[in-house]
Each structure stands twice: as structure tokens, then as C-alpha cells.
């Protein structure tokens, strides 16, 4: 026991219905927590070549040194597994209250191993585990499944669930936890393959820290910074606090960088009816927060349902305003809200689902794809909602789309692959690589596919660096990838790092755990984790060809404000070469032995 960490991880063997407490060994403790624990454990225990939906895959849920403490914006839980969507190692995050509850159980993580024989509900009370039958909720939505757990076993359980999409192995199925989701990478399908429909977690303990006085002082300082940012209308944090993450949409639109109609245009005429301010100003809105967060970027809204009654829905996030809004030419706020709600009830990632639908609509427009009984058109509510239903039930064309954008395009052929806006089968986030070249490189090189969480979005969108330039972007992207991996060992909210001086993180670790670590050591740890992920992916069979943007990026973005931005293939490849070289990797993207030795992970070489 070191301060805020219990140094215990609960291992649950789903096949044998047994569990045990694992004392976290020193070589794992060196990874601090969060993504570090997850990537280290999966790298050590799971063969990268396995089928992600086989019982050999594992799900590692982790928390970090600051989870469940007074430090704001550390509510998230990290989930690491092998992704059925990308075939890579996945790290996915959800906020809310699950992470702190795991900590209150006296645990630093939970590892799910093997697979259950029947659909099951797992109930975790402190360190004890119960298996219950999930028979009554097979086929239920995420909301219904979680309500069932609370009503049947106790309202104070914090819950995690999958919906029908996860049960049916939809490649982009998410895992949902109350108001939040592990969206990226298809973790819901992995949980489904293990026949776990829902998990309840209830902890009765507390979280102590190594130096309570220092924690109190650091928390107060951090809260002061966050209060300042919260009240600043020019800070992104202030915008998110006031309008949710959709508050930033007008800024992106202004730069001609809002992906529209499957990334054909960089601006959308209907944007002002689907952005954060619109929802906030036109609908009854409750602002909701994750554990201990003063920014409360979450939203729930009340609509009038078709039958005239109240219909509650979680507010779409900015990424969903793109994926199920502008990118589908859907400027109807009710359709967007309904589409967002459907993805949550079925339990799929709204991002990759929307990106796959956008590709299907483009192919339908080109006459290359059709669906019996459906008239597929951009901007058509029936097409948007109909395809979500089809994907999540795997009916008709939905069975193809449920495999993700790249796999669907490979199945259709007809040159459609270049129109699927994805990397490694994971859909683009709401940012345009052609407008923002560094973000393009971040999409291409991300170990989990088309990821915006480790991209120079802030620097490019506010103009701190020239968004259109390739110069210096390789180094910038590496710095951000390693930095974000470092703070994800603490599972800091991505927005926390926007306004927090990096030197504060080692102080927080020391106050919470008593462990001395410098910021530069943390960044090196971030790099070590990045390399471990890369090695896992190489062993899983990925190559340089997977670090590639789709061909559509070689065509100019249409629309006046987007300045005909385009990816120049030669310049992009040169930037990728530079990235590999700066990483200490060979021209195929494999880490050089010297780099692995320097990072102390020579044993993991391919």
C-alpha cells in the first residue's frame, strides 16, 4: 500500500467463475497506473496475434494515483484490450463515476480473463465477486441493462454495460457506464464475446494519500486555475463549461475545418442548428459532471417525444455533432439527438458508426451501393436513423457496415476504400487532416487508429502553428503523443492538461503516492508505453501501409473557407519518414533495437 494506490488488482476468471487478488509487482508499478498498467499487462499476457473476440483476449480496466482523490478532472477509467475494430492494442476511456468506485473497492484495476459460458452480470463488492445470470436482460439497451442492475441488486452500484450492438459483435460497439462511454475501438464487442452483459461495482472504502497537506494545497491551486479557465469565455475550458464540447464547433467551422458530407467540404450550412450553443439555448438543459469535475462539460436535454411526453437525452458531444451531423449533412437537431440516443441505447461508438454511414451515403450517391427498402441520401433522417438500426441489428446492409468503414469498403470493392475516412478501420474524428497536417499525421500514426486525443488540434486550430504546413509537425506530434500517454498513466481528463502546468503532475503523484518521479521521466514513460503499443501492433501484423490516410485526402477540400486544402502525398510520406526517424524507428516503422534498449523494453522486440 503506497498512499492512494492499493497495489492490488482483481483478476476475474470468467470461465471458471473465480477471482483472485493480484499484488501488483514492481515492474508493473513502474508504469504508474492507467494506460501504463493496461498496456504493460496486456503486452505481458496476451499474444498479439489472437482473434480479439476469442477467449484468449483480456480486458484490463485500470485507474491511477489520482483517481478517487480530491484532485479535479481525474474521474476516468482506462480500458485496454485487443481491438476487434482495428486489430491493434486499444486504450479507451470513460468518465463518470466508475473509476473512483473501483478505487473505493481498494483496487487499482480489474482484469477480465477467459469467457463466461452464459450471459452474465458481474457484481463486484470491494474485492469479492458474484456472478448472476443476465438472461433477463439479453437484448436490452444499455440504459435498461444498467437500470436492471441498480433495481435488482442495489441503487448504489456503479454500472457498466453493453447494448445489443456489443452482444452482436458490432466492431465499433462501445461499453457504457451511466452517462459516459468507452467509445473507441469496439470494447463492447470484446465484453460481448466474454458474455458479460453488465458489471456492477460498489466500494465501501476510502482513498488515503501519502501527504494529505500537500494534496490539500495542490488541489486548491489546481481548482483556482480551473475556476479561472471556467469563467474565461476565451478559454476552451470556459466554452466547454458553458456549452459542452459542442461549444467549439463555430470556431472549427470558421476555419473551414468542419468535416462535412464525408469530408468533402470544410463547412456546413446547417452547423448553427446542431452546435453546442443551439442545444443549450433551445432545449431544457442540465449540466452534468464527472466525479469531482468543476467544468461539467456533460449535458442532458429534455425534448418533446413523438407521443407528446418528455424524452430525455444526453447531449451530443462535439465529435457526434460531426459524425452524425455535419458529416451526414444532417442539420436537424431532433434527428441528431435521436441518432445520438440510438447509438447510446444500442451501445455503439457514435464516431466510427457515423463515419461508416457517411461512406455508405457517398457510395449510394455514386450508385455503387444500395439497400433494399431504403432510399439512402445525405441529409435524410430516415437514412441516418435507418442505417444506425441496420448496423446495430446487423440486418441487410448493416451486417457489412457493422465491420467498420475499411472492412465494409473492402467488401464492397469498386474503389470505395479510398472514400472510407478511416485509419486502421477506426473512423476519423471531427478534424480534417487536409486542413490540419499535424492532425493528419497524428491520425496516421496513432496506435489505435485515427485518434484525435493525441493530435496537435489546439495548436493548429488557434494558429499557434501554421495548420497547413508539414514543417516541424513530426516532432510536435511525437511530443504530444508522449505527453498525453504520460498524463494518461494518471488518467487525467484530456481537458485537464490544457490548463495545467506539466510540472504539477509529478507533484501530484508525490503527494498522492509518496513516489518521486520527474516530469521528464513521466514523458519517457509515455514514450515507453507508445513503443510497447507499437510493438504489439507490429506483432499483430500491422505495417507501414497501416499508417496511411485514405486517398480522398489527396483531393482538395471543397468550399470557400477551406482554401482547397489537400494532402500532398510526397510531402506527407516525407513527414512520416521524419516521424519514424525521430521516433528511432526504421523506415517500416519498427523500433530500432537501440531505442528499445534505451527505453528498457528490449525484451519486447519483434
Amino acid at each position: 500500500m503506497t498512499g492512494s494506490m492499493s497495489d492490488r488488482i482483481l483478476r476475474i476468471d470468467l470461465g471458471a467463475k473465480t477471482s483472485s487478488l493480484w499484488a501488483v509487482p514492481d515492474d508493473v508499478r513502474a508504469y504508474l497506473g492507467g494506460i501504463g498498467y493496461g498496456v504493460k499487462i496486456l503486452s505481458d499476457e496476451v499474444d498479439p496475434s489472437i482473434d480479439p473476440l476469442s477467449s484468449e483476449n483480456k480486458i484490463v480496466l485500470t485507474v491511477g494515483p489520482l483517481t478517487g482523490t480530491s484532485v479535479p478532472m481525474h474521474a476516468q477509467t482506462c480500458l485496454v484490450t485487443k481491438s476487434p475494430l482495428t486489430g491493434t492494442i486499444l486504450n479507451s476511456y470513460a468518465g463518470g463515476f466508475l473509476g473512483p468506485e473501483i478505487k473505493f473497492c481498494g483496487l487499482d484495476g480489474i482484469v477480465l480473463e477467459d469467457a463466461a459460458a452464459e450471459w452474465s452480470i458481474l457484481l463486484i463488492d470491494d474485492a469479492s465477486v458474484r456472478f448472476e445470470s443476465a438472461e433477463a436482460i439479453v437484448g436490452a439497451t444499455t440504459d435498461e441493462a444498467e437500470a436492471y442492475v441498480k433495481e435488482t441488486y442495489g441503487a448504489d452500484y456503479r454500472t457498466l454495460s453493453i447494448g445489443p450492438a456489443g452482444e452482436r459483435a458490432v466492431a465499433m460497439a462501445g461499453t457504457f457506464s451511466e452517462t459516459r462511454a468507452f467509445g473507441r475501438g469496439g470494447a463492447g464487442a470484446v465484453l460481448g464475446s466474454k458474455r458479460i452483459k453488465a458489471i456492477g461495482v460498489r466500494g465501501t472504502g476510502g482513498v488515503a494519500t501519502a501527504d494529505p497537506g500537500a494534496m490539500r494545497a495542490l488541489t486548491a491551486q489546481n481548482m483556482e486555475v480551473l475556476r479561472g479557465a471556467r469563467d474565461d469565455q476565451y478559454s476552451l475550458i470556459g466554452v466547454f463549461s458553458k456549452y459542452g464540447t459542442g461549444g467549439g464547433m463555430p470556431l472549427v467551422q470558421g476555419h473551414g475545418a468542419l468535416p462535412t458530407k464525408n469530408h468533402t467540404y470544410g463547412s456546413f450550412d446547417g452547423a448553427e442548428r446542431i452546435d453546442g450553443p443551439f442545444f443549450e439555448e433551445n432545449l431544457y438543459t442540465r449540466r452534468i459532471a464527472c466525479f469531482g469535475c468543476p467544468i461539467h462539460c456533460g449535458r442532458i436535454h429534455k425534448f418533446s417525444g413523438a407521443d407528446g411526453g418528455d424524452l430525455w437525452g444526453r447531449g451530443p458531444e462535439y465529435e457526434t455533432m460531426f459524425s452524425l451531423g455535419s458529416n451526414l449533412l444532417n442539420g436537424n437537431p431532433e434527428t441528431l439527438a435521436e441518432a445520438n440516443r440510438l447509438t447510446e441505447l444500442y451501445g455503439v461508438d457514435s464516431l466510427t458508426t457515423g463515419v461508416t454511414i457517411a461512406w455508405a451515403l457517398e457510395m449510394a450517391e455514386a450508385g455503387e451501393l444500395s439497400a433494399p427498402g431504403m432510399d439512402l441520401k445525405f441529409g435524410d433522417p430516415d437514412s441516418v436513423l435507418g442505417l444506425i438500426h441496420a448496423i446495430c441489428t446487423r440486418e441487410g446492409i448493416g451486417d457489412t457496415l457493422a465491420k467498420g468503414p475499411r472492412e465494409a469498403a473492402l467488401e464492397l470493392g469498386q474503389g470505395s476504400l479510398g472514400r472510407a475516412m478511416q485509419v486502421k478501420n477506426s473512423g476519423f474524428a471531427a478534424w480534417m487532416p487536409r486542413r490540419m497536417k499535424g492532425t493528419g499525421l497524428a491520425y496516421a500514426t496513432s496506435n489505435r487508429g485515427a485518434c484525435h486525443k493525441r493530435a496537435p488540434i489546439g495548436a493548429e486550430i488557434v494558429g499557434a502553428v501554421d495548420m497547413d504546413s508539414y514543417e516541424g509537425k513530426a516532432g510536435l506530434v511525437i511530443e504530444i503523443q508522449d505527453t498525453v500517454n504520460a498524463v494518461f498513466t494518471l488518467i487525467s481528463c484530456r481537458f485537464h492538461e490544457f490548463v495545467t502546468d506539466h510540472e504539477v503532475y509529478p507533484k501530484l503523484v508525490a503527494a498522492a503516492t509518496g513516489r518521486a518521479v520527474s516530469w521528464s521521466e513521466m514523458v519517457t514513460l509515455g514514450e515507453r508505453i507508445w513503443n510497447l503499443e507499437k510493438l504489439f501492433n507490429l506483432k499483430a501484423g500491422l505495417t507501414r501501409a497501416d499508417d496511411k490516410l485514405p486517398k480522398k485526402c489527396l483531393e482538395p477540400v471543397l468550399g470557400e473557407t477551406s482554401q482547397s486544402s489537400v494532402i500532398d502525398e510526397a510531402k506527407f510520406e516525407a513527414m512520416l519518414d521524419e516521424y519514424y526517424e525521430l521516433r528511432g524507428w526504421d523506415s517500416d516503422g519498427a523500433p530500432e533495437p537501440r531505442k528499445l534498449e534505451e527505453l528498457g523494453i528490449g525484451d519486447y522486440a519483434v
Binding site: 480530491s70 476510502g206 494529505p212 442540465r286 469531482g292 461539467h296 442532458i300
Partner: protein
């Protein structure tokens, strides 16, 4: 002085709960907090907290069979030594603000007049101030 609660402003972040448990027990433990945010999803939550002087009749004092609860200058306090953990006070509290653990009742003691929870609330859902009559 009294608590002024506007539940419509509550984001359910629980910073108040975290602050209370730290102030009273030195660790973050939700079950030890004297203030509780009970979700009523998707509607606004219920904030469970003793109202002290603003509580009409203060029935917990009457209900206590051993006289362990008293009103000291407007602050309703439980004498932990005297408490027998019978739960009578918990039953009658109109604000559901009293909890029992390990055979002892506990509730808000106003932190000596400067409640820790209030400092952490960024939206103003809980304030402690003079209320205009």
C-alpha cells in the same frame, strides 16, 4: 446564516461530498460524508444535508431516546459518545441528512461555521449565507 440550496444548479460532481469526507475523516470516502447527492436520473438529484436552524421543529432532538442530540447556538449536534445508534433520528429527519455507521449516527456539524462543502461548489448549488427574511 443558513444553507441556501438550488438543486437546479447541481451538476452531481460531488466535490462537496469529497470535501466533507476529507474534512471529517481525512480520506475521500463517500459513505463518510455528511452531505449526500442522491441521483434521480435524469431529473435533478436530491441533496441530503442538515438544515440546522432552518429545520422546523428539529425532530431528531425529540426523537433521541438518550438525549444525545442538542441545539447549540443554532447548530444541531450529535454527541457521538452518548449515541447508541438506534436510528430514531435517522427515521424522523425530514432531510434524510443523518446516517449511521458502526453503531453511531453522524451528520453535518457545520464545520464550526465555515462548511467545507460550500467552498468546493463552483456552480452555487450550495451556499451558506444570510437569508433575507
Amino acid at each position: 446564516m443558513g444553507f441556501v440550496i438550488d438543486v437546479g444548479k447541481c451538476t452531481e460532481c460531488k466535490r462537496c461530498v469529497i470535501a466533507c469526507s476529507l474534512a471529517k475523516t481525512g480520506v475521500v470516502r463517500m459513505r463518510s460524508s455528511r452531505i449526500e447527492i442522491r441521483p434521480n436520473w435524469p431529473e435533478v438529484p436530491e441533496i441530503r444535508l442538515c438544515r440546522h436552524e432552518d429545520c422546523e421543529g428539529q425532530p431528531c432532538i425529540e426523537a433521541c431516546p438518550v438525549g444525545a442530540i442538542s441545539n447549540v447556538d443554532g447548530v444541531v449536534l450529535i454527541d457521538g459518545e452518548a449515541c447508541i445508534g438506534c436510528g430514531a433520528c435517522e427515521t424522523v429527519c425530514p432531510y434524510h441528512a443523518i446516517r449511521i455507521e458502526d453503531g453511531k449516527a453522524f451528520k453535518c456539524d457545520l464545520c464550526g461555521g465555515d462548511p467545507a462543502c460550500v467552498h468546493e461548489c463552483v456552480t452555487g448549488a450550495i451556499e451558506y449565507r444570510e437569508v433575507a427574511e
